[in-house]
Each structure stands twice: as structure tokens, then as C-alpha cells.
């Protein structure tokens, strides 16, 4: 059925070219700046503390030993080179776990999960002596593989809610294995007076 007065529909033509131009620019920008997280390196998720950027050091990209501390008191030790992991843990995707508090069990032993998430990588449980041996082994293996070329870095990713006791235990172990230089990973805090949050 036709309407009595046929209204003429003006064919609206929108020129999409400027839109496409802008979108192309945005796309190029994001494609070039994107750095993908590898699935394995983000295995253990923690909420990092914030700090003011005083010396503006960025996280090194390779030859990094990452030590992750979870609120449950577990210490995960990992390197970014799978060959080193193969050498030290006997599995390409394994990750070391040390639970300093001997009176309790690690989270993965109790619930099979970490931070309420399933954990896909193989976990190698370590005691204190093994943990300290692993710290040394990881460093030496990486050094050998790269012919002493690598600037090996230790970074510490601690969850905000981790107890300092765990950090203290870890620092004792690091000191024991002569790993006296390490970095704490934080996220950027903006300079704003009166916004210092206190526990």
C-alpha cells in the first residue's frame, strides 16, 4: 500500500573518506604501539603497588627473572627464556614455587588455583634450599646461554597485599645467593598533593 502523499526520500550520501582516514591513522597508531602480552608471562596476576616515577626506569624487556609474590604468601620464580626453563625445571613452561611459611600450604596445593583462576603451567614446588639453588641456576644458565652477554635483571612483582614477611624472606634468599640488585615493579602514580593513600 502506498501512502497518499509520497514523501520523497532524499538519498543521504555521507562521505566516509575523512572518517576512514582518521580511523586508518588510529589503527596504524595502535598497531605500531601494541605490545602483546605473552600468555605465559602473565600467568600469575598481581595488583602492583603504585609509586612516583623518580628515576624513570622502564621494565627491561628480555633476560629478566621475574619473582612474583602473591597475597597468599607464595613466591613464584620464572625467567622469560624457555630454554633456560627447560634446563632448570625440565619443562619449557614450568614455573618455580616456593612457600616460605612452612606452617601453611601454598595456594595451589590447597585449592589448585591461583587468585581464583586455574593455572595452566606446570608448577615446580621448591623448598628453601632448592629455591636458593634455583635462583643461582637460573642466573648461571642464562649467563652460559648468552655467553655472558646478557644483562641479567631480577624484577620483583609483589602484590599490594603481600605481607612484608614474605619480602623479607625473599630478600634473605636473594642476599644469600648474591643477587643483591633487583627492581620492584610498580605502576605509575601521578603527582598530586593530598592524594597519598595510607594503609
Amino acid at each position: 500500500m502506498k501512502k497518499p502523499r509520497s514523501i520523497k526520500k532524499p538519498g543521504i550520501r555521507i562521505d566516509m573518506t575523512p572518517l576512514v582516514d582518521v580511523i586508518m591513522l588510529l589503527l596504524t597508531f595502535f598497531m605500531l604501539t601494541a605490545t602483546f602480552k605473552s600468555v605465559e608471562s602473565e600467568a600469575v596476576e598481581v595488583s602492583l603497588p603504585k609509586s612516583f616515577n623518580t628515576d624513570s626506569t622502564k621494565l627491561p624487556e628480555k633476560d629478566v627473572m621475574t619473582i612474583t609474590l602473591t597475597p597468599a604468601g607464595d613466591i613464584f620464580v620464572d625467567v622469560d627464556n624457555y630454554l633456560v626453563r627447560q634446563e632448570v625445571f625440565g619443562d619449557r613452561f614450568a614455573i618455580g614455587l616456593y612457600h616460605p611459611d612452612s606452617t601453611t600450604k601454598s595456594e595451589i596445593e590447597e585449592t589448585g588455583k591461583i587468585g581464583n583462576k586455574d593455572f595452566k603451567r606446570k608448577v615446580v614446588l621448591l623448598n628453601k634450599a632448592q629455591f636458593e639453588k634455583t635462583l643461582t641456576d637460573l642466573r648461571l644458565t642464562l649467563k652460559n646461554m648468552t655467553d655472558n652477554q646478557s644483562d641479567f635483571r631480577i624484577v620483583l612483582k609483589g602484590d599490594k597485599d603481600t605481607n612484608f614477611g614474605i619480602v623479607e624472606d625473599l630478600m634473605a634468599s636473594l642476599k644469600e645467593t648474591r643477587n643483591t640488585r633487583f627492581s620492584l615493579v610498580t605502576t605509575f602514580k601521578f603527582e598530586k598533593e593530598g592524594e597519598d593513600s595510607e594503609e
Binding site: 603497588p49 624513570s56 623479607e168 643483591t180 633487583f182 627492581s183 605502576t187
Partner: protein, 175 residues
């Protein structure tokens, strides 16, 4: 809308064809950009969502090499004890040259930077001894180190374990 536009474009080009037959004619080529825009939009959304712009930064920590023979004698008069309780309360106490120390004093976290700068102005050889309680949160440790880094002082600090005597001092000062 896209389909209608396409049909219209065809119609007009057919009309033009009829009128201008025989002449050298220019056909206005209309490329329908909609599918391309759709795809690009999808890609854009994908990259926007997966990208991580804020790369985390690091704070450098240097522990002293733990050799027994490297033990350094410090003048207790240059020492400032910073003790932090389980509850996260910060206590400053200055050491005295005779080996004792002044009574601990509660310091607000927000006031810490100014206090450190004032103490450093009074004594340039100030050495900070950090005694953090095991029950305190890692977040506070980072915050305190950050304040020390931010303060206009020389960054000389070291971590010491909190012993029973320290716990007692903190407890007497209010926990």
C-alpha cells in the same frame, strides 16, 4: 541505507550513459566503503582493547653484599631507625652516639618526606635503618621507599630484621 545508495548510483550512471552516448564519458566510480570501514573498525577495536599503553616501571633496590667480613661499623649518632608496626604505623627514632636511641616518635606517612629532609639537613651523614614488621603490607614498603627516594636526601638505607626488642619498642609506643 547502503543498499539504497548503491542502487541509486547505478541508476544515475545508467541515465548518464543514455544521455551522453557517443561522447568521451567519465563514469563516476563510487566505491562503497562501508565493508572496509566495518573491517577497519573491527581491527581498531581489537588493537585498542589488546594494547597495553602503561608499561610498568621499576624501582631499583641494592642490598648490601652479605659478607661477614664486610661488616661496617656505623656511628650510632648518624642512624635513624624507621620502625613500622603490623598496623602500618611509622615510628622514627634517632640514634645517639653512646649506642642508645631516642624515644620513638610516631610520624604520619604524609609528613614523612618533610621530616626526613629536616633530619637530613641537621645531619648529612644520616643512615636510615628500616625495620619493617613482618605483618605489614608490601604496598606500604613500596610507599615508604618511594618517599625516601622522593625526599631530597641521599638514599642510604638498609633493611634490618625486626627483632623482639624492636617489637617491644613499637608496642610501648602504641603499636
Amino acid at each position: 541505507m547502503a543498499g539504497g545508495g548503491g542502487a541509486e548510483a547505478q541508476a544515475t550512471s545508467a541515465d548518464r550513459h543514455k544521455k551522453k552516448r557517443g561522447k568521451g564519458l567519465k563514469i563516476g566510480v563510487h566505491i562503497d566503503m562501508t565493508p572496509m570501514v566495518d573491517v577497519i573498525m573491527l581491527l581498531l577495536t581489537f588493537f585498542m582493547l589488546t594494547t597495553t599503553l602503561a608499561t610498568p616501571q621499576v624501582m631499583q633496590i641494592n642490598l648490601p653484599k652479605g659478607d661477614e667480613k664486610d661488616k661496617v661499623k656505623v656511628d650510632m649518632g648518624n642512624v635513624l631507625f624507621i620502625r613500622v608496626s603490623d598496623q602500618g604505623n611509622i615510628y622514627f627514632s634517632l640514634g645517639k652516639s653512646d649506642g642508645t636511641e631516642q624515644a620513638p616518635e610516631f610520624v604520619e606517612f604524609t609528613d614523612m618526606k618533610n621530616r626526613l629532609e629536616a633530619l637530613y639537613a641537621a645531619n648529612e651523614n644520616l643512615l636510615l635503618l628500616l625495620k619493617f614488621s613482618r605483618g605489614m603490607k608490601y604496598n606500604l614498603m613500596v610507599d615508604i621507599l618511594d618517599e625516601i627516594n622522593r625526599a631530597a636526601i641521599e638514599k642510604r638505607y638498609t633493611f634490618l630484621p625486626m627483632e623482639e626488642t624492636d617489637r617491644e619498642i613499637v608496642r610501648l609506643a602504641g603499636g
